[in-house]
Symmetry: C2
Subunit: 195 residues, 2 copies
DNA sequence: TTGACAATAGAACGATCGTTCTATATCATA
DNA sequence: TATGATATAGAACGATCGTTCTATTGTCAA
């Protein structure tokens, strides 16, 4: 039972190791995961992957993946003709952790309850990212305390007066008393189907 | 000018190194980044961080971070009283890359155009994750070809008949002809404010 | 069959790894 | 000031690192 080793096989196994262990394998470990008995064979294949641009070496000579294996392709805005022809034009990749969160230390997540922002496309059970330590501006969606409860509202500033408005005609605008408490600004909304 | 070194300082510098380089520093590198001249000092502080549970060692003895430094706290669903009292109850952290994408290889991103799913809370310029190689079920939102254009619709199966319905009264339900083409199932919606 | 090339094995090299030791310097508190 | 705890320095250890070498095996085309 002879197995032909291909460049893609080796790449997949190294990426699998990275995803599982959170770090790149050493040459000894590559020797194990590709199923050979000599480190020089691992070196042989890694040299090929370096040549192919799949792997890189950082300033200290450590192996790194050229691309984040969890990143996704971002198709263009124009859907027409997709996906038959667009396979080539697809580009721009994103790591959500970096894309969505600017300041991890001053941010937290909140599972949405209620329908106060339904017309802004924020629905029950959505997850929002709330960034504290961020000054709310006119039109921002904020997490604010209203009547002793925390809720999401549009932050509307007209001159010196501030009003909190829901994105739902059910609720009336609120002109807060002196003790306006704002926990943070909503910087992103995430909704996941198929839990 | 004497600087007092604290456990938090060392932790921050190690996390900063990890975020910048995508890997954990060696003891020699820790020696550099915390500004001392002996590896044993790095070992001294790492031992403290291991003791404090900030760092771990994996099966092979490599240092790893106990928690993903990009992960965010998830506040409970009940907002009442937040955030004064909830600081202690906050738990459950998430890495979006892992949370949102199950199969990176068969998924891609799409910037939404049009308003066909507005009543489902999917708006123009939102980003959706489309998973190909996933069988659509009744009620799923799919990316489908309608009249030569790709658009998002509810996938509705009643017995053997399939209809595509928009979440917008402007558009009528569609009973597709034989050549129903579905690119994939929408598994998540992402909206980011404050680009 | 033969020759050329690709792939694997195994051994060896210096360099760096993580660890551990002793010794010194600094600080807080009695 | 004296004392113990904390923090830093420096040297040394075996183990593993990445690299490089020679030698052998396997594959495919001439």
């Amino acid at each position: 039972m002879k197995v032909k080793r291909t460049l893609q096989d080796v790449e997949k196994k190294i990426i699998a190791f990275f995803l599982k262990n959170g770090r790149m394998p050493s040459y000894s470990e590559i020797t194990e995961i590709i199923g050979v008995r000599s480190k020089s064979v691992a070196h042989f294949w890694v040299a090929k992957l370096l040549d192919a641009g799949v792997l890189q070496k950082d300033a200290k000579g450590f192996l790194t993946l050229t691309r984040n294996p969890r990143a996704l392709k971002l198709a263009g805005e124009v859907c027409a003709g997709f996906p038959a022809s667009a396979e080539e034009e697809i580009r721009d990749i994103v790591s959500f952790d970096e894309y969505l969160v600017r300041n991890p230390e001053s941010s937290f997540l909140l599972s949405v309850t209620g329908d106060s922002m339904i017309d802004a496309g924020i629905r029950e059970k959505d997850i929002v990212i709330v960034e504290t330590k961020k000054e709310p501006g006119d039109g921002d969606i904020v997490l604010a305390e209203v009547d002793g409860n925390w809720t999401m509202k549009y932050f509307c500033r007209k001159g010196k007066t501030v009003t909190l408005e829901a994105a739902n005609p059910k609720y009336s605008p609120i002109i807060p008393r002196a003790d306006l408490r704002i926990a943070g600004v909503i910087t992103a909304v995430i909704r996941k189907y198929h839990k």
